[in-house]
C-alpha cells in the first residue's frame, strides 16, 4: 500500500516544546485522524507537512516528493482547511475566491459554485463578517474545488454545529470514493473520527503513541470497570491509565486478550471509544511523569 505523506525522523524544537524523532507513514486512499490533547503537537506537525514551518532535522515527503524542494507542486495538490481563518478580512467571499482561483490549474468554478450554494455562503459578504463556522465552510469549499488529491484539515470541526459536522463527514467519505485521494484530519473531538476514520495517529507531548488502523484498536484496548478490591500493586501495572473514586475504578488496558481473561468474570469489560483511549493514555503519561 502506498503512502501519501511520510515523515522520517523529524524533529522540531521550540522553547518549551519539542517534536521528538517523528517517523510516520500516512496511507494513500484513506482517512487518517490525528488525535491528541491541545498542545500535543498536532498543529506543528501539520504546519511542517504544509511547509509553513521547517523541521530542524529529518525529512518529509508528500506524494513521494521532498516537501522543501517541491513545495509549490505539492501544495497545488493539497486542499488545506484550518480552524483559524487565514483569508483577507476586508474583501468579500467572491473577491477572495477570485484571488485564490488563478493559483490552481485544476480550479473548477462550477464545483465551487455548487458548494457555495450548498453551504449557503453569500458571495457579497465580507470575510470578517462571516461566523467561524462559515469561514470553515468557505475554506472547505475552496479546498474541494481544485481537485486536491490530499485534504489536510487542522481542527476543521471546532466551530461547526453538529448538523454541519455530519454533513462534512459525508463530504469526506465522498472525497475518498476515488481511492487515489486521501485525508489527514486533526481533531480533539474524537467522535468525528469514531465512525469514518480508517487510521488513527495519536500524539501526546510531541511523541507518537500509536499509528494504527482504527479497526484494530478495538481489538487491542479494553476498558475495565469494577470494584477497587480487584486492584493490587501488580494488577495496577497492567493499566495504561486508571481512574479511581470512592465507588470503584475505571481503567484502560492495552492487552485486550489478557485483560479479558483476568477480569471477564469479576468486572465489566467494554470496548473503549477513541476518547477513552486518549483520556487514559494522557492521564497515564502524567502519572508516570
Amino acid at each position: 500500500m502506498s503512502t501519501v505523506i511520510e515523515l522520517n525522523h523529524v524533529t522540531k524544537s521550540y522553547d518549551r516544546f519539542e517534536l521528538k524523532d517523528i517517523s510516520l507513514p500516512i496511507k494513500e486512499g484513506y482517512i487518517t485522524g490525528l488525535i491528541g490533547p491541545n498542545g500535543a503537537g498536532k498543529t506543528s506537525m501539520i504546519k511542517m507537512i504544509m511547509g509553513l514551518i521547517s523541521q530542524d532535522q529529518g525529512d518529509i515527503r508528500v506524494f513521494g516528493q521532498n516537501n522543501h524542494h517541491e513545495q509549490a507542486a505539492i501544495r497545488g495538490r493539497i486542499g488545506y482547511v484550518s480552524d483559524e481563518s487565514f483569508y483577507y478580512e476586508n474583501v468579500t467571499v467572491k473577491q477572495m475566491k477570485n484571488i485564490i482561483a488563478p493559483f490552481y490549474p485544476g480550479w473548477d468554478n462550477d464545483t465551487y459554485l455548487r458548494f457555495q450554494e450548498q453551504f449557503k455562503l453569500s458571495p457579497g459578504k465580507r470575510i470578517k463578517d462571516l461566523s467561524k463556522g462559515m469561514k470553515i465552510k468557505f475554506s472547505l469549499a475552496v479546498a474541494l474545488s481544485h481537485g486536491a488529491d490530499l485534504l489536510i484539515m487542522d481542527e476543521p470541526t471546532s466551530g461547526l454545529d453538529p448538523i454541519f459536522r455530519r454533513e462534512m463527514l459525508e463530504l469526506l467519505s465522498e472525497h475518498i470514493q476515488d481511492e487515489k485521494k486521501s485525508i489527514l484530519f486533526s481533531t480533539h473531538n474524537t467522535t468525528d473520527l469514531d465512525r469514518i476514520a480508517d487510521y488513527i495517529v495519536f500524539i501526546n507531548e510531541g511523541r507518537i503513541i500509536f499509528n494504527e488502523m482504527k479497526e484494530s484498536l478495538s481489538e487491542r484496548y479494553l476498558l475495565v470497570k469494577g470494584g477497587k478490591e480487584l486492584l493490587d500493586r501488580d494488577v495496577r501495572q497492567w493499566f495504561v491509565g486508571l481512574r479511581e473514586n470512592g465507588l470503584g475504578f475505571e481503567g484502560l488496558i492495552s492487552n485486550r486478550a489478557e485483560g479479558e481473561r483476568y477480569f471477564r468474570d469479576t468486572a465489566i469489560c467494554e470496548t473503549p471509544t477513541l476518547e477513552e483511549i486518549m483520556y487514559y493514555t494522557v492521564k497515564g503519561d502524567e502519572a508516570h511523569a
Binding site: S54, Y88, N90
Partner: protein, 212 residues
C-alpha cells in the same frame, strides 16, 4: 510568471479601496502646492506598497500566502515586481494632475519630465529599504517599520530641495539634460541596480525558511 501576475493582481484588489483615498490627497496638493507636482508621485506608490504589505501581514494572511502553490521565492519576487506597476500608477496620477493644473491655469510651465522621472525612479530605491525590514520584523515590528519609513519618505521630500548642493551633476541634468560625467552616471545607475538586487537577496534569505 502566471503566479506573479496573480499575486500582483491580488495586491491591486486589496489596495483598491485605499487608492481612493489618494484622490483627496491629489486635490489638496493641487490647491496648496501645485508647483511641487513632481514630488507628489513619490507618496502614492509607497503608501500603496505599505498598505499591501500591511494587509499581507495582518491576521493570518501570511499563512494564506505560504499555503498557496507558489514557492516562497516567488512570493518575494512578486512583491518586488509590484513596485513597477505601482510606480507607473503614481506617475500617471501625477501626469493627470499636471494636466488638470494646466487646464485650471494653476501651472503654465512645460512638464519637468526629467525631474519627474528621477523622482519616480526613487520609488523602487526606497522600497528596497522597506521590504527587507518588513520581512525581517514581520507582524510584531511592522507598525514600527511603517512609522520609520513614513519619516524617511518625508525626509526624501526635503532632500530634493537640497539636490543642488549634494549632487550638482544630477541637479544639472535635471535642469538642462546635460550629462557632463558619463562615468558618474554609469556608476550611479549600477549602484541603483545593485542596491535593489541586494535588497531582494536579503529579503529572500530572511523569508525563505521563516516559520509562519
Amino acid at each position: 510568471m502566471h503566479n506573479s501576475i496573480a499575486l500582483i493582481r491580488k495586491d491591486f484588489i486589496l489596495t483598491r479601496k485605499f487608492a481612493l483615498l489618494l484622490i483627496p490627497y491629489f486635490v489638496l496638493m493641487l490647491y496648496s502646492n501645485a508647483q511641487a507636482y513632481t514630488v507628489f508621485s513619490l507618496l502614492p506608490a509607497l503608501l500603496l506598497l505599505i498598505n499591501a504589505c500591511t494587509i499581507d501581514m495582518q491576521h493570518n494572511n501570511q499563512k494564506f500566502l505560504a499555503t498557496l502553490p507558489v514557492p516562497r521565492q516567488q512570493l518575494i519576487q512578486a512583491k518586488y515586481m509590484t513596485i513597477i506597476p505601482l510606480s507607473l500608477f503614481s506617475l500617471i496620477c501625477t501626469l493627470i494632475m499636471y494636466w488638470i493644473a494646466v487646464t485650471l491655469g494653476k501651472l503654465d510651465d512645460p512638464l519637468r519630465w526629467r525631474e519627474l522621472g528621477l523622482i519616480t525612479a526613487v520609488i523602487p530605491l526606497l522600497a528596497s529599504f522597506y521590504l527587507p525590514l518588513y520581512y525581517w520584523l514581520g507582524q510584531k515590528g511592522m507598525q514600527f517599520v511603517n512609522v520609520v519609513f513614513m519619516m524617511v519618505i518625508m525626509l526624501s521630500f526635503t532632500t530634493f530641495g537640497s539636490l543642488n548642493k549634494e549632487f550638482p551633476a544630477l541637479a544639472q541634468w535635471v535642469q538642462n539634460g546635460k550629462i557632463e560625467n558619463m562615468l558618474l552616471l554609469v556608476i550611479g545607475v549600477l549602484a541603483y541596480l545593485i542596491i535593489i538586487y541586494a535588497s531582494y537577496l536579503i529579503s529572500s534569505r530572511i523569508y525563505m525558511h521563516k516559520d509562519i
